[in-house]
């Protein structure tokens, strides 16, 4: 889960919420959806808290190709 991007985690979270709201499943699955959902929500929150805008700039190489380099 740690490797999931915010969007991926958010999407999975949405699916877990929907699945759980449906409610037609064995207890084991329901608990799984609940725990996974809560973990995904925490992961999303963590990502939002830690997020820091990354800024890079394009530079043109001698061959005329654009490459990224750090900005400031």
């Amino acid at each position: 889960m740690e490797a999931l991007t915010f969007e991926e985690a958010f999407e999975q979270l949405e699916a877990a919420v929907e699945a759980l709201q449906d409610g037609q499943m064995p207890l084991e699955h329901a608990l799984h959806y609940y725990e996974e959902g809560m973990k995904l929500a925490r992961h999303c929150n963590d990502l939002l808290e830690k997020a820091e805008l990354r800024v890079q700039q394009l530079r043109v190489t001698n061959e005329g190709m654009p490459v990224l380099e750090s900005f400031e």
Binding site: T5, F6, E7, F10, L13, E14, A16, V17, L20, Q21, G23, L27, A30, L31, Y33, Y34, G37, M38, A41, C44, N45, L47, L48, A51, E52, L53, R54, V55, Q56, Q57, L58, V60, M65, P66, L68, F71
Partner: protein, 403 residues
């Protein structure tokens, strides 16, 4: 007049001050370009120049002070000239006159900047470059945002600040460029092309902070318009202030009024996502609670069902039914018996009433002929000397018929 509170009546000066205040605090009127034809142009020995700008419908008094004239690149003004004048609009309180305090003047006749702009606009519009059908939708949450602007400008700082606040999950790729001067148009086009070659950005912001019409002119050039049109990445324009419209704005997929607004349009606001996350967490908790309560209720129902199937319970139930049935049986028997007893008693009573003994007790007697024990009920049955037995309550009397 009698009904008006004297305190609420304004003096001419008060009204004029109020009007002047209104005009002077209006952002648009503080730096505006107005086009029209010059009339009543007079230049006094003071060096100040007064004229009216007019078109078919209206006219606007203008004053071009000497200092402003000397600072500007304005040509010599004559009546009938078509110009665009730049400056601020305010109230000259002494004459109650709203006028344009001119800072600069551009010819608006043939061969000038504005005419060329109009011609280019017409040509590009005819080509369909401004068509709504060409406008592409912006990605809802781009992870990589391209920015074409000057690396030193305030516009970049503003845009980064907005992106940091609204959507710090994103990555920014700056494609640095000049944004004003003769080389700016080609540089801007190149910077935009470069982002397309690199091809990672999902949306591009073309930004430049506010400035004079000349400062923004690069964004009116055809090379820039063409670069926007051929960009495979959707382009958001954010050039100058709210009132500035450049050709870049018309070609862009989305026109934002300023660089700040452009940055805000490029990304979602994570505040909304935070809220959504909270909602999701709450929904998860509510759903699992509902689920568990349901399961619990079902468990209760199942347990009761199970109990009903237990042999011990069944035996008890059968026992109870048996007991119930026996009790019922007993009650029925009792009823039947009592009915019978009742009937017996009735018969006995009737029997009793018919008993001859009872008749005898009342003084009657039964008379039998001894010879054959037959009961004598008629005189014809006996003859003199026949022996009879008379039965009374307490015994028998032997008798002989005499006659």
């Amino acid at each position: 007049m009698l009904f008006i509170d004297a305190a609420s009546i304004l003096s001419v000066t008060q009204v004029s001050r109020y009007l002047k205040e209104l005009l002077d605090t209006d952002e648009i009127l503080q730096d505006v370009w107005v086009r029209g034809e010059i009339s009543d142009c007079k230049t006094y020995s003071s060096g100040h120049c007064y004229f009216k700008l007019k078109d078919a419908e209206a006219q606007l008094p203008c004053v071009f002070f000497k200092n402003a004239r000397l600072r500007s690149s304005a040509p010599e003004l004559r009546d009938g000239m078509a110009i665009a004048a730049n400056g601020r609009i305010s109230l000259y309180e002494r004459d109650g006159k709203m006028q344009l305090y001119v800072e600069n003047v551009e010819l608006f006749g043939e061969g000038d900047l504005f005419l060329r702009l109009e011609q280019l606009k017409t040509r590009l519009a005819a080509e369909g470059l401004f068509d709504d059908s060409r406008k592409r939708p912006l990605p809802s949450s781009p992870s990589i945002i391209g920015i074409v602007t000057s690396p030193e400008g305030a516009a970049l700082r503003d845009m980064l600040r907005v992106l940091r606040t609204r959507f710090p999950l994103a990555q920014v790729i700056l494609s640095p460029t000049l944004v004003q001067g003769a080389e700016a148009p080609a540089a801007i086009a190149h910077a935009l092309d470069l982002l397309n070659v690199h091809s990672e950005a999902e949306v591009v912001i073309l930004g430049r902070g506010g400035g004079s019409i000349e400062d923004l002119w690069a964004f009116n050039e055809e090379v820039v318009a063409r670069a926007i049109a051929r960009s495979r990445i959707p382009v958001i324009s954010g050039v100058g202030h709210e009132t500035d419209f450049t050709i870049a704005d018309f070609v862009a997929d989305y026109r934002a009024s300023t660089p700040t607004a452009a940055a805000a349009a490029a990304v979602p606001d994570i505040a909304e996502w935070r809220e959504k996350l909270l909602d999701f967490q709450q929904e998860l908790t509510e759903s699992i609670e509902t689920y568990l309560i349901d399961q619990h209720e079902q468990l209760g129902r199942t347990r009761r069902d199970l109990l009903r199937l237990d042999p011990k319970y069944q035996l008890e139930r059968l026992q109870q039914r048996l007991d119930d049935t026996s009790a019922l049986l007993q009650a029925r028997m009792q009823h039947i018996l009592s009915l019978r007893t009742e009937r017996l008693r009735g018969v006995a009573l009737r029997l009793h009433a018919l008993s001859p003994l009872l008749t005898i007790a009342r003084g009657f007697a039964v008379v039998r002929r001894d010879s054959d024990q037959s009961v004598v009920t008629s005189t014809q049955q006996v003859h003199p000397d026949d022996e009879l037995t008379i039965q009374v309550t307490d015994g028998h009397i032997h008798a002989q018929v005499k006659g």
